[in-house]
């Protein structure tokens, strides 16, 4: 009590007078730091804004046409305007979905193991270390690895599914790490509350821990997916471009947005260049939509206090 009543005096004595020269010096430093931070922010924003503006200006007119979203490039040449990116959008989405279907269970199971079971075990530390290495593997190396496995070792043809396998290598560490972070955020008290009710550990994980972390896990998956959709290197190695609509993952070629950009980029004429900008803008739109979906899910299914 007595300490509380004395505190105001002490505070007044300890604080310097607001108008002393020392505080002027601090204000100058504050200004300088503020200006520096803003300058850095603006400099960092320039390329981003530039890219978006350039894409909108050069690709906007391509993307607004309805046939862009419904037609493929089948039979199109560098001299025939028209056609669309439907085949590439379908290819990108299909490969992304298959990649996710394989990656997500693997990643979530790994994260559950690492956080709920293997925290202080030797094997857990080894898995975690491997995951760090996998995170650092360049995408072209992932592509080459699958090529060596799929084509060189097994003697199989390059097919879209092989692309998915390479993308799985890139997606698993990302989703595992984000899921781990979300599981760590679940307070231990909730696990204990569940155990204290006589609920088994596995049941606690599936019924208490995962639902509590759900929105965060979904957000992580969507962000990981958005990243994987823009990957190009494994596609260049494993997924030759096709101008036609293809949905068979196990034979033939399949067009995707990154390989469409790469294929059309080789031409110098104006028509393919439009397609490059259009495909680039389309890819960015898809990625942005996924990001947006991730954030919306995070916002609206977040646990309400």
């Amino acid at each position: 009590m007595s300490a509380a009543t004395h505190t105001p005096d002490l505070v007044e004595q300890a604080l310097p007078d607001p108008e002393t020269p020392q505080s002027t010096g601090r204000r100058v430093k504050d200004r300088t730091a503020t200006v520096a931070v803003w300058a850095a922010f603006v400099i960092a924003m320039i390329p981003l804004v530039w890219i978006i503006v350039a894409l909108l200006v050069k690709g906007g007119s391509v993307v607004v046409s309805a046939s862009w979203w419904t037609n493929s490039q089948r039979g199109m040449t560098t001299l025939t305007a028209g056609g669309g990116a439907y085949h590439a959008i379908i290819g990108t989405l299909l490969q992304a979905v298959v990649t996710a279907v394989i990656s997500v269970p693997l990643a979530i199971m790994t994260a559950i193991y690492l956080i709920e079971y293997g925290r202080s075990t030797r094997f857990g530390r080894i898995v975690s270390f491997m995951l760090d290495i996998l995170t650092g593997v360049p995408s072209i190396v992932a592509g080459l690895f699958i090529y060596a496995l799929w084509v060189t070792t097994f003697g199989l043809q390059r097919v879209p599914f092989a692309v998915c396998l390479a993308l799985v290598l890139l997606m698993v560490p990302v989703v595992t790490r984000s899921t781990e972070e979300m599981l760590k955020l679940v307070p231990n008290e909730l696990r204990e509350a569940s155990y204290a009710l006589g609920v088994s550990k596995w049941r606690t994980i599936t019924s208490i821990v995962l639902p509590t972390a759900f929105s965060g896990i979904i957000t992580g998956i969507l962000l990981g997916l958005a990243r994987v959709m823009g990957e190009t290197a494994p596609l260049l190695i494993l997924g030759p471009y096709s101008q036609s609509i293809a949905t068979n993952l196990f034979s033939g070629f399949m067009g995707t947005l990154p390989t469409m950009i790469n294929a059309e980029r080789n031409e110098v004429a104006a028509i393919p260049l439009d397609r490059v900008w259009g495909a680039a803008l389309t890819l960015i739109i898809l990625v942005l939509l996924l990001n947006l979906a991730g954030r919306l899910i995070a916002r609206y299914s977040a646990v309400r206090k």
Binding site: R119, S120, P187, E189, L190, R191, E192, A193, S194, Y195, A196, L197, G198, V199, S200, R203, T204, S207, I208, P211, T212, F214, V303, R304, K305
Partner: protein, 258 residues
């Protein structure tokens, strides 16, 4: 329903650190036993060994025996999960499941153990919430999230959740220390009512609370930090507070240390 607990020569370790040493005591059924003592003397640690909750802490282990009537909790083949169904626990900070409604919180234990029938669940919700003196406050908003209640209500919700699985013993680890005085009184009243059905053990750092709610009191102490905590004495609350045998108990209760 209520059962007696017999603890014999119990030591508790965190890896190589001995946290609690040589505890022997009996907890009587249908009564409230309070654990008091300075913080760090191992009250929580010991409490958790009564339903094997210490086993979720890596490195924690126990020597000695704990009997629940004639079941040895640490015998080979006894499943800790089923032990916790008979010996429930309420924690210091209210911890309702944030993704669940009030209704789902109460029956979480039942549902996660496979009880399905709608009628049974509805009944369990009403009985348990009434048992926890919460029914009148929440009966119109059972579908609302449990996290939206006040701290005191959340703690009573946690008690309702704990008694919904019909345990024989209820362990409470400082259940009021995060609550305001009014909510604290509500919980104390509740403890008084619950003792007709359950064996209750309550850890508290509040001496008046121990005196108000408990029939028997156990005083724990430790010789020095880093030394294991020990049970100094246990007896009728009246006796412990008015006429303790040990000097240390008297010092602690009269506020001379701790």
């Amino acid at each position: 329903m209520a059962k007696r607990i017999d603890v014999k020569d119990l030591n508790v370790y965190y890896s190589s650190f001995k946290a609690v040493e040589d505890v022997t005591m009996t907890v009587e059924p249908r009564s409230v036993t309070a654990f008091i003592g300075p913080s760090g003397c191992g009250k929580s640690t010991f409490l958790r060994t009564l339903n094997r909750m210490h086993e979720v802490i890596p490195g924690a282990r126990v020597e000695g025996s704990v009997m629940l009537d004639d079941l040895d909790l640490y015998a080979k083949g006894v499943d800790p999960v089923s032990v916790r169904r008979s010996v429930g626990m309420v924690f210091q900070r209210p911890n309702p499941f944030p993704t669940m409604s009030i209704y789902d919180n109460v029956i979480a234990g039942l549902r996660l153990n496979g009880v399905k029938g709608r009628k049974d669940l509805d009944e369990a919700v009403e009985t348990s919430l009434k048992g926890a003196n919460l029914w009148n406050e929440v009966k119109d908003r059972l579908k609302k999230p449990g996290a939206g209640l006040s701290g005191g209500q959340q703690q009573r919700l946690c008690i309702a959740r704990a008694i919904a699985v019909r345990p024989q013993v209820l362990l409470m680890d400082e259940p009021c220390s995060a609550l305001d005085p009014i909510s604290t009184l509500a919980i104390e009243d509740l403890v008084n009512e619950l003792k007709s059905d359950f064996t209750i053990v309550i850890v508290t750092h509040n001496m008046q609370q121990a005196a108000r709610v408990s029939d028997r009191t156990a005083f724990f102490n430790l010789a020095a930090t880093g030394k294991p905590g020990r049970l100094v004495e246990i007896g009728d609350t009246q006796k412990i507070f008015n006429n303790p045998i040990e000097r240390a108990t008297e010092d602690y209760i009269s506020g001379r240390f701790g």
